[in-house]
């Protein structure tokens, strides 16, 4: 019984034969006795989840009125005019401001029985399929003009998909992230026959070649790249010590020397703040924020009753965080954003029938 298919066939038959559905004496009574005295969750949570399905953004706070928007726009215009005047008066041009561009995320699609990548404006409007078919882990290039989906690079408008070399010997390369100069990708690598090869590999973003091994998992599990530091000298990554336990590590790109940032178990790959000062990662029902050397660790809670959340990404301007979250009581993630201080939670997608994950936020390429 060595063929994988045989193992799978026998497993199905074995489970069918051995699954024990019997109910123990008193088991139902114990459950009912435990629940009868407990209240269900408050109605505010249910009402939060029962709003009509929409792909447009919904601010959880009080919405601004139209006159307020007009005043805000006039104020912004005045500030912009003043800023331009000051800059020209000083005989120098201000650096181009970082403008938040579109977001991407994966959504489970039953028709392909897998994840399909979608793209949208950061308020959730104009959500549409970015790339038909099954794909995962989309990552914007630093200039916002391309998106890597594992070892495939596609223009941000969905055109010109280019398959990169996704093997290094017997190692298969998977989810990847861009270096800040846009020249290299750091990719998760694994060898199904020799797990000692598992680790992160650096390859050319143009063709997937010139591979350099950056990390060695050392335990036969996975190292999954998260985000480069803005100066490109370090890479934050998720280091799995078992199938279910992972910790946050940072590796020096030039030397390959890695170090654990915090001992806390974390659940997602890290994201690096655009100013280089913070690493952000999720730890189940809350986020952890700390300096890249592990100092000043802080818990960042989401202002909602959270089931599970994950995959946080800083916005390009560093003011907001994009993430997915399943509110307590749901088994499906939606996409949200909030300010970096945990306020102003905004629901970006509201799709109770499908789950969403694999988030990233690009700059506006214009």
């Amino acid at each position: 019984m060595t063929a994988q298919r045989d193992v799978e066939l026998f497993l199905r038959a074995h489970f069918e034969a051995t699954a024990d559905r019997t109910v123990a004496d008193g088991q139902v009574d114990a459950i009912l006795a435990t629940t009868v005295g407990r209240r269900q969750q408050p109605a505010w949570l249910a009402s939060l989840r029962s709003l009509p399905m929409s792909n447009t953004a919904r601010t959880l706070g009080r919405p601004m009125s139209a006159p307020a928007w007009v005043l805000l726009l006039i104020l912004a215009l005045l500030i912009a005019v003043a800023a331009v005047g000051l800059t020209v008066g000083g005989f120098r041009l201000a650096p181009a401001p970082i403008v938040n561009g579109p977001i991407v995320f994966g959504r489970f699609d039953a028709s392909v029985d897998d994840t399909v990548i979608h793209i949208a404006r950061p308020d959730g409007s104009d959500t549409h399929i970015f790339l038909p078919g099954a794909n995962e882990c989309p990552q914007f290039s630093p200039d916002g003009r391309q998106i890597a989906v594992a070892m495939k690079v596609v223009n941000v408008d969905g055109t010109d998909p280019r398959l990169l070399d996704n093997t290094v010997g017997d190692v298969t390369l998977g989810c990847s992230t861009w270096s800040p100069d846009g020249q290299r990708l750091a990719a998760e690598g694994w060898n199904e026959n020799d797990p000692t090869d598992n680790g992160i590999y650096l390859v050319n973003a143009s063709d997937g070649r010139d591979a350099i091994r950056l990390t060695t998992n050392g335990k036969g599990n996975n190292d999954i790249p998260g985000d480069f530091s803005p100066d490109g000298r370090q890479l934050g990554y998720l280091h799995h010590v078992s199938d279910s336990v992972a910790t946050l590590w940072v590796v020096d790109v030039a030397t390959g020397n890695g170090r654990q940032v915090v001992s806390t178990q974390v659940d997602s790959t890290p994201t690096w703040s655009p100013d280089g000062q913070w690493l952000l990662v999720d730890a189940g029902d809350h986020f952890l924020v700390m300096h890249p050397d592990g100092t000043d660790p802080r818990t960042l809670n989401v202002p909602a009753s959270v089931g599970w959340l994950g995959d946080p990404q800083y916005s390009p301007d560093g003011t907001r965080i994009l993430f997915h979250m399943a509110l307590d009581g749901s088994d499906k993630n939606d996409i949200y954003t909030m300010r970096v201080d945990g306020t102003d939670l905004v629901q970006i997608t509201d799709t109770p029938e499908v789950t969403e994950y694999f988030t990233d936020w690009g700059i506006d390429p214009r």
Partner: protein, 184 residues
């Protein structure tokens, strides 16, 4: 699963919830026992899942998703049960209720026995991905969603779990070689 019962339970009708418990507890017991392989831990996990469900039911938007939602809650409580009881877990063999429908009964018993031992040697995480894939027949992305992990990670976990299981079964097929190995 009765949609009307779910709606009533969601609105706070505990009798309706009791009927949902009665109708789904057998299926959930089977899943928890296959994952945890400890009847006591499995019953605790199922109870915790139902307590979570009663608390969280007002947030369940689609009543038709009740079964899938309960499965997700149960898998999470199984993970919690494993963490709480890591030091005291005693794994018990599951009893077969029926013979699998395989023509060669001698071979079937041998395979069942091998699989039983192989499954027992896996970690709870490995058994979880196998149960989600081959007992519940969930697609990779759905199973990944239940566990809150990327689909790629789910694929590699499943691959490793099956490889570990196959290695155990193959080792069982080579008793002489194993004995010789031990004596050298």
């Amino acid at each position: 699963m009765d949609r009307e019962l779910v709606i009533l339970a969601r609105e706070g009708d505990h009798d309706a919830f009791a009927r949902l418990v009665a109708s789904s507890i057998g299926r959930l017991n089977a899943i928890a026992r296959l994952i945890l392989r400890d009847y006591g831990l499995a019953e605790d996990a199922v109870q915790d899942a139902f307590v979570d469900a009663w608390r969280s039911l007002p947030g369940l938007r689609d009543p038709d998703r009740f079964d899938a939602w309960m499965t997700t809650l149960l898998v999470r409580t199984c993970q919690d049960a494993r963490r709480r009881a890591r030091r005291r877990a005693v794994e018990l063999p599951l009893l077969a209720n029926d013979d699998p429908e395989i023509a060669d009964h001698h071979a079937a018993f041998a395979v069942t026995d091998q699989l039983e031992r192989g499954l027992r040697d896996l970690t709870v995480d490995q058994r979880t991905v196998i149960v989600l894939s081959f007992y519940l027949d969930l697609p990779i992305a759905e199973a990944a969603s239940v566990l809150g992990i990327p689909a790629g990670t789910m694929k590699s976990r499943l691959h490793r779990a099956l490889t570990a299981l196959r290695a155990t079964v193959d080792a069982d097929d080579r008793p002489i070689a194993r004995t010789a190995e031990r004596t050298t």
